[in-house]
């Protein structure tokens, strides 16, 4: 059985490795122009043309905005979810607004935010925050409301203060849901950062892609694109690792 699971594990990477030569062959044999769809070797070449320090600079700029925006979003959304779960009044007034904000395309708001906040880091953080906010609030609220009513009865029968009921019972109970929300949000945070860079930035992988394509350096844009996917994937894995390492119980099945 073990060699099967090993095969399963490396199957995606293996498939990718087999696709690369096919991609290369198709590009070469059909003479696909590089500015339409570059071959892997061309992408690799243009990747090497750019200095590693510059890659790191762009990568760090995007990662920074994504992580800060995500962190900010997490810091606002979880307390907000706690308040909304605790107060019907708050949830009834705020929830419609959240839905409206979520329904408005962030890409469309981005230029407006830039005019509001100027062209610094603030609007980029705001855009990332906006795009990651909704899944975090909704998942946290769902989790907190899924807490067994008996546990709430237990807390009340102990005459424990309401904030303890939320902090010591509802919040931990919602962690499996929050982590699901975080996995969605962390990949969205990269999207948010890139969208913001498209609109106004002088650094970052999003900026780099726009800059490259405007000079028809499509292979370079592809290299940046691959970078973005890899960061997204790495961040997703990081969240999963944090979950399984520190909150292993959230991954085990079976009710308790």
């Amino acid at each position: 059985m073990t060699h099967f699971s090993a095969l399963n594990r490396y199957l995606p990477a293996l498939t990718l490795l087999m696709l690369l030569p096919a991609w290369e062959v198709i590009c070469r044999s059909f003479d696909v122009p590089a500015y339409l769809f570059p071959s892997p070797s061309l992408i690799f070449e243009s990747f090497m043309e750019v200095e590693p320090a510059r890659w790191l600079e762009h990568l760090w700029a995007t990662l920074r905005v994504a992580l800060l925006g995500f962190g900010l979003s997490l810091m606002i959304s979880i307390p907000l979810a706690m308040l909304m779960v605790n107060s019907q009044y708050l949830s009834k007034t705020l929830y419609p607004f959240l839905v409206i904000v979520q329904s408005t395309p962030v890409v469309a708001i981005a230029p407006l935010l830039i005019t509001m906040f100027g062209s610094g880091e603030a609007p980029r953080l705001a855009i990332t925050c906006l795009i990651t906010f909704f899944p975090l609030v909704v998942s946290a609220m769902t989790g907190m409301l899924a807490t067994p009513p008996e546990l709430i009865d237990l807390s009340r029968s102990l005459r424990a203060p309401r904030y303890k009921e939320v902090l010591a019972i509802r919040l931990p109970y919602s962690l499996p849901h929050i982590f699901s929300g975080m996995k969605v949000a962390i990949t969205l945070s990269i999207i948010g950062a890139v969208v913001a860079e498209f609109v106004a930035a002088e650094q970052g992988l999003g900026y780099f892609i726009q800059f490259s394509t405007s000079f028809f350096k499509v292979p370079q844009a592809f290299a940046a694109l691959i970078f973005l996917s890899l960061i997204s994937l790495a961040l997703f894995k990081l969240v999963h690792w944090i979950q399984s390492y520190f909150f292993g119980w959230t991954l085990t099945k079976g009710k308790a």
Partner: protein, 275 residues
Amino acid sequence: MQPYVSLKNVSHSYPTDKGKSVLALQNVSFDIEKHQFVAVVGPSGCGKSTLLRLLSGLMMPTEGQVNIFGTAVTEPRDEIGIVFQQPTLLPWLNVTENVVFPVKHKTGRVSSQTRSQAQKMIEMVGLADFAKRMPNELSGGMQQRVGIARALLMDPEILIMDEPFSALDALTREEMGFELLRIWNESPKTVLFITHSITEAVLLADKVLIMSPRPGRLSAQIDIQLPRPRSAETIHDPAFATYASEIRQHIYHPHKAGEDSKASVTAINKKLVNL
């Protein structure tokens, strides 16, 4: 001596969304003596859960009075431990931490005394080897044992159990019934045991309260005078069958029950007393 727990003409109604109200309990009165084991049997909708919430002080009755130790219940009290239908353990805490959770939740810390008491309770429910296990590593029966240990931690005078074994399979359920009797023998408590099972009620209780639904009313009280300690043998006692069929009569034919079967129970009780 005044009763430990007493309900006097208790009614309770819930408001509905449409502005009306639904009567969940109507004019219920009964007493529970110290260290008595009382079972409540009745079909769904007979107000058993309302009864639990009123007794534990989570709700106030709309009419009548709930008294514990002679004083009216106005808020949850420390003398009551509750065991729920589902074990409802906290999945991020191990068995010991789950057992001490109420104290930690209430006071913010756990003394070493409480910890050793928790150890004792865990031993009493037969989980000594599992104290460091996580809830998801335990079977349903073991989880409910943790729930019982948690309820017993602060040595409450009164233990309220809301269909505690209903989520368990039939074999585990039977075993848990006898376990509960053993624990009750070791540390006597006043118990209110809510159940759907007539067999379970007769086997465990000193007194069975029979409720009827919509609105929840107390339709009969039957004293069970089967000898203790009770065991699997008790079920074969002819008196056991008489009690069970009497209770069944009250549940399914509340109007016909009464004269003839009451006579048979009285006869049985007399006979048992004379033994």
